[in-house]
């Protein structure tokens, strides 16, 4: 039997498929490298924000330390490639796995904290990771690691001049995070996590195992974030602690999800579609000479959106599509 929820969820899939087709075709008519780069970065952050959303949105744990998993993923895949010759196509998954593992390690002490205590603990853990990598010579220290170019290849995920392959790579990544979120939304886990988010005590009294729920969400979230980091490393060709582990990055990962609509399927993507171009464009047009105008604009947008649309930008599209007969309670 078709009920309301399965019908809505199938609708989401159709919308997703249409948007996917649009995004597959989008770069084809665009020739200039700057715009293509902008789109790639936006899609990458859409995927990262969706990964954050799995823990922060569905499970309600506001992590401000996702830069750690991103950086770990970037470093694992890069070092595997540079030192051991493991192709990044494999390394990407290794980076994700280690990222998920680290998320579990971080979650183990931190999930005993709640609210602001948890948020601050994640900031601190990420900062410890950043400082350690900055001072750890084996991983290149503050100098970072250059990824040598070994010819265009889908196995090494390296393309000298082409942007198109990266476009499809990040699109596949973002799609994977979306599908994960879609599956979670309809699964038993998703319901448990949302219960944990809304009220821990009530959830526990209903038999939801709170700590394992948080850990599972953290592992999945960390996995995708690490994977995103590995992809970023291959795209840029150079990593250092400042570009992959900086605390600011954790905010850039969380913001699209929060401002787009936390705990929703489309919020993180919508947020990234608005915020990432805004930040990149304002930096290139206002950042240089205006000195700080880009930051002022960005900060202002965050404040205004957060106050005016607390449920996120998706609420702009919040048309309730209630089938007739259900809304007014009359028998169907």
């Amino acid at each position: 039997m078709d009920n309301l929820i399965t019908r809505r969820r199938r609708g989401e899939l159709w919308i997703g498929a249409v948007i996917l087709v649009v995004l597959i075709l989008l770069p084809l008519p665009i020739a200039d490298a700057y715009t293509r780069n902008l789109i790639i970065i936006s899609i990458l952050f859409a995927g990262l924000a969706q990964a954050w959303n799995i823990l922060g949105g569905y499970c309600g744990q506001i992590s401000l330390g996702h830069s750690l998993y991103f950086g770990i993923g970037a470093y694992v895949s890069t070092l595997l490639f540079v030192r051991l010759g493991v192709p990044p196509l494999v390394g990407m998954f290794a980076g994700g796995l280690i990222g998920g593992l680290i998320a579990l390690l971080v979650g183990w002490p931190c999930f005993r904290l709640s609210g602001h205590y948890y948020a601050i603990a994640t900031v601190v853990v990420a900062e410890i990771g950043y400082l350690l990598f900055l001072n750890w010579d084996f991983v290149g220290g503050a100098m970072g690691v250059y990824i040598p170019f070994k010819g265009d290849s889908w196995v090494a995920l390296q393309f000298r001049t082409q942007k198109l392959p990266y476009h499809y790579l990040v699109l596949a990544f973002a799609t994977a995070t979306w599908i994960a979120a879609w599956v979670i939304e309809g699964s038993r886990w998703g319901f448990s996590w949302r219960a944990v988010k809304d009220d821990v005590i009530a959830a526990r009294s209903l038999g939801v195992r709170v700590f394992p729920s948080k850990m599972a969400a953290a592992a999945i979230s960390g996995f995708f974030t690490g994977m995103g980091g590995a992809i970023y490393a291959q795209y840029v060709g150079y990593i250092d602690p400042d570009s992959t582990m900086n605390g600011q990055l954790a905010i850039l990962i969380a913001l699209p999800a929060v401002l787009g609509g936390v705990g929703t399927l489309w919020g993180p993507f919508l947020g990234a579609a608005v915020l990432t171009p805004l930040s990149e464009l304002s930096r290139s047009y206002l950042g240089g000479s205006g000195r700080g105008v880009d930051l002022m604009l960005y900060g202002l947008v965050i404040v205004v959106v957060a106050l005016a649309r607390p449920a996120g930008l998706v609420s702009l599209f919040g048309i309730r599509r209630r089938p007739k007969g259900v809304a007014d309670g009359s028998p169907a």
Binding site: A119, N135, V258, V262, G292, M296, G299, P310
Partner: protein, 290 residues
Amino acid sequence: MTAMVFQVAIGGLLMGLIYALVAAGLSLIFGLMDIVNFAHGELMMLAMFAAFVIWQYAGLDPLMMLPIVAILLFGLGVLIYRGLIARALSVNFNRGMVQIFVTFGLAIFIRGAAQFVFGGEFKSINTGWLAGRTAEIAGVYLPLPQVAASFVCLAAFAGLLLISRTEFGRALEATREDRDAVALIGIDRDHIFALGWGLGAATVGVAGVMLAGFYYVAPNVGANFALIAYVTVALGGFGSLLGALVAGVLIGEVEAITAAVLEPSLKQVGVFGIYMIVLMVRPRGLFGKL
């Protein structure tokens, strides 16, 4: 050897008292209304720039301008509450995240504005009664601006303690205990919150002015101090004045010792390590109430 041990201990104490005062302002606002002000470091940075500007154009010594900057920051704190935080409190969906990201956005805005007005390069206040002077006691060197800053910090803590004994302080405490019940006894919650923000901002303003006497001034100077302030507050227990003081000094000492024993670039790893250990043993911090 003894002199060196004392040198490290004194250095940690002097810095720790500044950390403690920065954290006290944060803790005050948190304890009052359950909001973490992520723009706290930026408020400190603004106070440092205010001190720099007053020093440059009026030639006042940091010690003399303390009341001016404190009043300015008090006004700014009230303004931030009235303009932003009161609105963030009235949101009825997703309130926790809205509060976090409103102050985050504000922090980014303030940092951008400071960069726009003052530029990104480091500035410092290098003349004044105490600037650059040190005293020596039994082989231990005491930089006088830092010593003065420590005394001011202690005085500020004493001041906060006195305020908590006044009518206003009792109203603060009552509002913290039960923000709805206070309305019944004629306390205007909004008014108390605004004053609390003013007081928190003024507190970090005092710390900023004294810090400007011996530290560089730049738009991004707040970020690092803010991070330490969050750790201090979480370590001492949110909302606890005594916790902020003890944790601040503890962090100053751990930082100084790590820098001396391991490596200066790793000094914060020691701080964060201590914090993680304490949180595992005592999740609500040293003096936090549940």
